[in-house]
Symmetry: C2
Subunit: 132 residues, 2 copies
DNA sequence: CGGAATCCTGCCTGATACTG
DNA sequence: CAGTATCAGGCAGGATTCCG
């Protein structure tokens, strides 16, 4: 093997890292699911099928770009189904699939946890900040 | 009330939005917890107390900046405790608090879900991509 | 209505150097 | 060892505009 240039070494390290990640699907998927918009979208879809504009209102603060992008990846991963009704104007509804609902059970617990422990977190923050 | 300029209207909207968020602690905390490094750190700390350098190795791919930043916010929120042993060189260990462990139970389920459903997600992706 | 395309501003990352 | 500081670069994400 000839000596590697810095660029070649970086590329090799990158390839190794990617290969490692590919062998660790839980890490990949975990990173994907640990996204604020993914979590929020699943929580927003819990009441039932909803239209695009309704979701954008429920998920206050989301940009159209991130909403569309999040819904696309959720659809691609089979967590959400997208239904287009060719009316004028067109109507698009999003709905959780069975797979999405099974994930929602876990994500929902995250929401419950956050609501239940918010006061404890808040008091810890005040205590921590007081020591500065 | 005088007419508002566009800039004033934006500022008012921003203030309203911030106030709304402040009244919705679950949304705030949910956004905080839906972070890939937060999730990964809690998973990494599951086996027990660990040192900084050990964590940086376990959480492959994290930069020192993000590792330190994540650990700081976790400490501030009372989810992780930081212990400094004044040896030479100094030893710093991080450990989940009881509050952190209660959150880990939920996050751990996310990890389990990801591992259990990775193949279903993968097949949905292939199917979705085939339609392009 | 439900997006796609564009531009543009931050934040994250990576690399490096320095402290206690 | 466990950080802090700094700077370069890339890319996620927001705002805006336009189209079927």
């Amino acid at each position: 093997m000839p000596t590697m240039t810095a660029a070649q070494r970086r590329a090799a390290a990158k390839a190794e890292y990617d290969a490692f990640v590919a062998d660790c699907p839980s890490r990949q998927l975990l990173d994907r699911l640990s996204d604020k918009w993914v979590t929020l979208a699943l929580v927003a879809l819990e009441p039932g099928p909803q239209r695009y504009s309704q979701l954008s209102r429920t998920m206050a603060g989301v940009s159209q770009k991130m909403l569309t992008q999040t819904l696309r990846t959720l659809e691609r991963d089979g967590l959400v189904s997208r239904t287009v009704t060719p009316s004028v104007p067109v109507t698009v509804t999003y709905e959780m699939t069975d797979l999405g609902r099974s994930l929602h059970r876990v994500v929902g617990m995250l929401k419950v946890w956050a609501e239940a422990h918010m006061d404890q977190v808040q008091s810890h923050r005040l205590e921590y900040d007081a020591l500065l």
